[in-house]
């Protein structure tokens, strides 16, 4: 059973978005990933805090999501694999990630902790960059943005198996990666 009426309630959604954002920002800051030095350290492969935070979030999120999905309380929100979109966009994003030193969520957290370059450089730049994308979108939306599309959404759907046959091995692998990082002292 999904909370359909809550999902349609615009006022409630503003409040829910704000509260989830506050929690998200709080945990990002406490986890250290709103620090420029921590993110650059991850991209230079000297500090694995970002990987630790992300994998922990995915482990908890994956188990919780598929538990709720079993009760039909959440829905899948995925697109087909589209290489023209995620590979090209992902590499451009990666370049910006390194030059700015934050990603879209952590840059907002960095503003909250007082980084002025995140506010006047990062946030302003992101709005300009998104605006530039909107400007080129009509020229690329039927071409490169749809190149390399495959009818593939989630791994359990592709394999045609019960999701837990994929969730459990994934969780084990992710815990294994975290364990290896601890053992190697990274």
């Amino acid at each position: 059973m999904m909370f359909t009426s809550l999902h349609r309630n615009k006022g409630a959604q503003l409040l829910i978005g704000l509260l989830i954002g506050i929690g998200f920002g709080f945990f990002l800051q406490k986890g250290g990933v709103t620090e420029y030095d921590v993110i650059i350290g991850q991209l230079l492969l000297t500090d694995f805090t970002v990987v630790r935070v992300m994998l922990s979030a995915v482990i908890v999120g994956m188990i919780g999501f598929y538990l709720l999905k079993g009760g039909e309380m959440v829905a899948i929100h995925c697109r087909n694999v589209t290489l023209g979109s995620v590979v090209i966009g992902g590499l451009i994003f990666g370049a910006g990630f390194a030059v700015l030193g934050w990603c879209p969520g952590t840059v907002a957290g960095a503003v909250g902790q007082g980084f002025l370059d995140a506010l006047f450089g990062g946030m302003v730049g992101m709005v300009v960059g998104a605006g530039l994308f909107a400007w080129v979108y009509p020229r690329i939306s039927e071409g490169i943005l749809k190149a390399g599309e495959f009818e593939v959404r989630t791994i359990p759907e592709v394999l045609g198996v019960n999701p837990w046959f994929v969730v459990i091995p994934f969780v084990v692998i992710m815990i294994g990666i975290l364990w290896v990082l601890e053992v190697m002292g990274l």
Binding site: V33, V53, V99, A134
Partner: protein, 232 residues
């Protein structure tokens, strides 16, 4: 004391990181989790954790800690992602909000014709729950940094200063260019580190997994070039 000799019933997830913390069986399980969490935080006043008379850690010490274990912070983020699917029927993401903002600014400049633009028609340039998430992140991080006394106005991050000097104008220009690439790339890819990297990956989306890998390939390559391959 007999009380201390009582068998340990630890919370396994946290006590694996620092053993011998959960000795208390006079408190419920949730209390021990919070208790352990405090013990794996780096606290504001050095590493010594103030303990209450009963030997526990004050709740305030957890909130005022400068850093939490990345596992605990990550688990909290995972919980927020679940709540977003459950309460808002939407993946937790951030980059759409920036596109909505650029659309709202264009509406101020160019008027209502923005709503007929193919991209803004698609994303809806209005303040909604997903826009509020980014506002919330700023507030949440501010609260966290204020509680730990680490809020500090900074123009040039220290690692940047080490490599490129303390000129705020140079850092500002780089942040602006970086932000533009990030905003452009995130919209091209249809999501960011949270939308694809966390929310997509946790649904086992193949598209999001490829996106997340490309974020880090691009990021690692450019960072290595910028900082001259340290440690390689």
């Amino acid at each position: 004391m007999a009380r201390d000799a009582a068998p340990i019933s630890p919370s396994p997830f946290l006590s694996g990181l620092k053993s011998g913390i959960s000795r208390d069986r006079h408190h419920p399980a949730w209390w021990r989790v919070v208790h352990d969490a405090g013990a794996i935080c780096t606290c504001r006043r050095g590493s010594s954790i103030r303990r209450t008379a009963s030997g526990g850690v004050k709740m305030m010490d957890i909130l005022t800690a400068v850093r939490w274990s990345p596992y605990l912070a990550g688990a909290g983020i995972g919980l927020m992602a679940i709540l977003s699917f459950f309460l808002a029927d939407r993946p937790l993401g951030c980059s759409t909000a920036f596109a909505k903002t650029s659309g709202m600014i264009e509406r101020v400049v160019r008027g209502e014709q923005v709503d007929t633009h193919p991209y803004y028609r698609k994303i809806g340039p209005y303040i909604d729950g997903s826009w509020m998430v980014v506002l919330g992140i700023v507030i949440g991080a501010f609260v966290s940094a204020s509680l730990s006394g680490t809020f500090d106005l900074t123009w040039v991050p220290s690692r940047w200063e080490e490599a490129f000097g303390s000129d705020p104008l140079l850092r500002w220009a780089a942040a602006l260019i970086g932000g533009m690439l990030l905003g452009f790339g995130a919209r091209w890819a249809g999501g960011c580190t949270s939308g694809h990297g966390i929310s997509g990956t946790l649904q086992l989306s193949v598209n999001s997994l490829i996106a997340a890998i490309c974020f880090f390939i691009g990021g690692i390559a450019v960072a290595m070039v910028l900082f001259g391959f340290p440690g390689v």
